[in-house]
């Protein structure tokens, strides 16, 4: 048994007959704008890290279609339990650049109050649940939240992401198993980008695909071209509708490629074949979608400029604002450990406060940005 890879856009940017979801022109242009903006945001993030202005960055370059197409199929009231490579969803859900970029600086503009490394966002207003670094923990959360919504009779659907490496985690097994047993309204997206830092996806599993694992859990598994935003959208829309109808979870494997290194701390040239990289560069999701838009006469140079320059300018302006925000106060370290500070924490907070009055505390440790 093998699963077909579902594709809609061919090499020449034409949608295969009968498969085009026929989104309205304005929506198609919106998707293009989001993909371009996401890449511009990524470029900016890496540049700030290289300039030493933020400590770390992690790009999603090449995976814009995979995550934007998936989340675009949701309602705004649906919840996301993301991994760490889906920043385009924040733009899709109207999170301002300034808020996103303040998270990189970890300063007072950061909704997470500087508690996590860059790109570990939390945006409750966007139903975008706090990201953790371990690769699969969010999968069981999505299953549990789905069980809760179902028990309460809500029609919320939950989408959660992991990578190919995440399929090896405890939580992948537990999350898919729980969601399937309780028929929870969850869509599991495995973005198979070929690499888990330096471990190739072929070394991650002996299964012929990630999607085929769904069969063992008693849920549908679908393999889709992750660099084809229309195909990703279509497959995810079906999975979301299915979940909302009470028919249970789906596993979607988006076959894509991590164009950049794992993170700003990694150098993929040390372990990756250049030919593989170059072959995938030719399948760039933004270029493919652009060709499709050209065929539809929805793209021209003026639109391109509006998308690219517009995003860059907004991101530059937002960076300026975000970077200038004051740092978190030292005593904020002791907040949000519990709803109310324990007596022990109050005492430790006072200890730090008193030492700081004397000066010099913390001078030897690397300050932000690193």
């Amino acid at each position: 048994m093998s699963l077909e890879l579902l594709t809609i856009l061919d090499k020449n940017g034409k949608a295969q007959k009968g498969k085009d979801p026929n989104l309205p022109p304005e929506e198609l242009k919106k998707l293009y704008r989001l993909m371009v903006a996401t890449r511009a945001l990524d470029d900016r993030g890496l540049a700030l890290q290289r300039q030493g202005r933020i400590g770390f960055y992690l790009q999603s370059t090449g995976q814009e279609a995979s995550h934007i197409g998936a989340a675009y199929a949701m309602k705004a009231s649906d919840w996301l339990f993301p991994a760490y490579r889906q920043p385009g969803i924040l733009l899709l859900r109207d999170v301002p650049y300034e808020k996103i970029i303040a998270e990189w600086f970890g300063n007072s503009g950061d909704t997470s109050k500087g508690r996590q490394m860059p790109v570990h966002y939390s945006f409750r207003q966007a139903n975008f649940v706090s990201i953790s670094s371990p690769i699969g923990t969010q999968l069981t959360h999505a299953a549990g939240a789905g069980m809760a919504a179902k028990a309460r009779g809500d029609d919320t659907v939950f989408m959660t992401f992991c990578g190919d490496g995440g399929t090896s985690s405890n939580d992948f097994h537990s999350g898919l198993n729980f969601a399937a047993v309780y028929k929870a309204p969850v869509v599991f997206i495995c973005e198979n980008n070929g690499w888990a830092i330096s471990v190739a996806s072929k070394n991650q599993t002996a299964s012929e695909s990630m999607a085929i694992k769904a069969d063992a859990y008693g849920m549908p598994g679908v393999r889709v071209d992750g660099n084809d935003i229309l195909a990703v959208y279509r497959v995810c829309k079906e999975a979301i509708d299915r979940a909302r109808r009470g028919e249970g979870p789906t596993l979607v494997e988006t076959v894509t490629y991590r164009i950049a290194s794992h993170s700003s701390s990694d150098d993929a040239d040390r372990y990756r074949d250049k030919k593989e990289f170059e072959a995938w560069q030719k399948k760039d999701p933004i270029q493919r979608f652009k060709t499709y838009l050209k065929h539809k006469k929805l793209w021209n140079e003026a639109f391109e400029k509006e998308c690219v320059v517009g995003a860059k300018e907004e991101i530059m302006a937002a960076t300026k604002v975000a970077e200038a925000l004051p740092p978190m106060g030292p005593e904020s370290m002791f907040d949000d450990v519990y709803m109310n500070q324990t007596p022990g924490l109050k005492a430790q907070r006072k200890e730090l406060h008193d030492l700081m009055l004397k000066g010099g505390v913390g001078a030897e440790i690397g300050h932000f940005p690193l």
């Binding site: 997470s112 939390s122 706090s130 923990t137 069981t140 959360h141 299953a143 809760a148 450990v337």
Partner: protein, 339 residues
């Protein structure tokens, strides 16, 4: 999501003699009737009512949606519990034995405990993780360990251990109502032995307040869980054999810790014995010892003594020698006088 609260169950008045098992069951029944966000789940907790019977009758009374069995995955139980709490339920996740919790350890220490902090307070995880723990039931290595220290070492978690039926009920209700994740560890050795009057209906024991289980003047004994009755017997021995008047402090919650009560007692008696059944090294008793050394050393008239499990894996056949017993605790008490 807003809570739909019903006023029932909590209206009952008076007291009833209950075992700790019955008191824990009564606490969950009371809160499930009070708050329809409360759900109980885990392995065998549904129709069977739990391997020890703590959830007996809850499935029947509240239905499958409120009390249900799960697949055998601690990672799944705890991870799903986090998701339920994030979405607005008040999950009570039962882990059949604390010894089985480790496949889900990551979900407790890196997810449930850190959610409030790492999201800047945007997301919270009000969840109770209940689990029977500790030795004394001939359960061998995988049904006897006392691993509370791992959880006390995790900021963001609260750690609660009752020693009486009334406290078990009152502390469990307080834990369910708490806005933060709580490890509620149940000393299974005294699940059935401890029988006491338990208030019916609403009964809340505030977290972070220790209990003076016996007043005394010569030496303070700090203990919790199944060690409290052991220390009571040891205190009797110390009085009979050496005329020592022991004050027993039952900690009730290790996090947050009631330092005030501990230090007041230690300053009064000038001597302290710390009793816990976990392996001695790295155990919570070490923390108590350090607090006393830092904050009350000038009051001490003898060494701070720990009586604990040995630094071995839990021994099946020799558990009667591994667990602190009244004789060993009494010997520890004497060490604070003669050294």
């Amino acid at each position: 999501m807003t809570a739909t609260k019903k006023k029932s169950g909590a209206d009952a008045t008076g007291t009833k003699v209950m075992t700790m098992l019955e008191a824990i069951n009564d606490a969950m029944r009371t809160e499930m009737a009070n708050d329809d966000r409360v759900v109980v789940f885990g392995e065998d907790v549904g129709k069977k009512g739990g391997v020890f019977g703590t959830t007996a009758g809850l499935h029947e009374e509240f239905g499958e949606a409120r009390c249900f069995d799960t697949p055998l995955s601690e990672c799944g139980i705890l991870g799903a519990g986090v998701g339920m709490a994030l979405y607005g339920l008040r999950p009570i996740a039962e882990i059949q034995f604390l010894d089985f919790i480790y496949p889900g350890f990551d979900q407790i220490v890196s997810e449930a405990a850190k959610m409030r902090y790492r999201s800047g307070g945007e997301y919270t995880c009000p969840m109770v993780i209940r689990s029977p723990y500790g030795g004394g039931i001939r359960g061998g290595h995988y049904h006897s360990q006392s691993s509370e220290a791992y959880f006390c070492h995790t900021p963001g978690l609260k750690v609660v251990i009752p020693s009486t039926p009334a406290d078990a009920k009152g502390l469990l209700i307080a834990s369910i109502r708490d806005e933060d994740p709580v490890m509620f560890l149940e000393p299974k050795a005294i699940y059935r032995h401890a029988k006491d009057e338990v208030p019916l209906g609403e009964h809340v024991v505030e977290l972070g307040r220790a209990r003076i289980a016996r007043e005394g003047t010569d030496v303070t004994i700090l203990c919790y869980g199944a060690m409290v009755p052991v220390c009571q017997k040891a205190a009797d021995l110390a009085m009979e054999e050496h005329g020592r008047s022991c004050e027993i402090v039952d900690l009730r919650t290790l996090v947050p810790l009631d330092e005030q009560t501990i230090l007041a007692s230690v300053k009064k008696t000038g001597r302290v014995v710390i009793v816990y059944e976990a392996p001695k090294t790295g155990g919570f008793g070490g923390e108590l010892s350090a607090i006393i050394a830092e904050k009350a050393i000038e009051y001490m008239e003898g060494p701070i003594v720990r009586v604990a499990g040995f630094d071995t894996p839990f021994p099946y056949a020799l558990e009667h020698l591994y667990m602190p017993d009244p004789k060993r605790v009494a010997a520890g008490i004497e060490k604070t006088f003669v050294w």
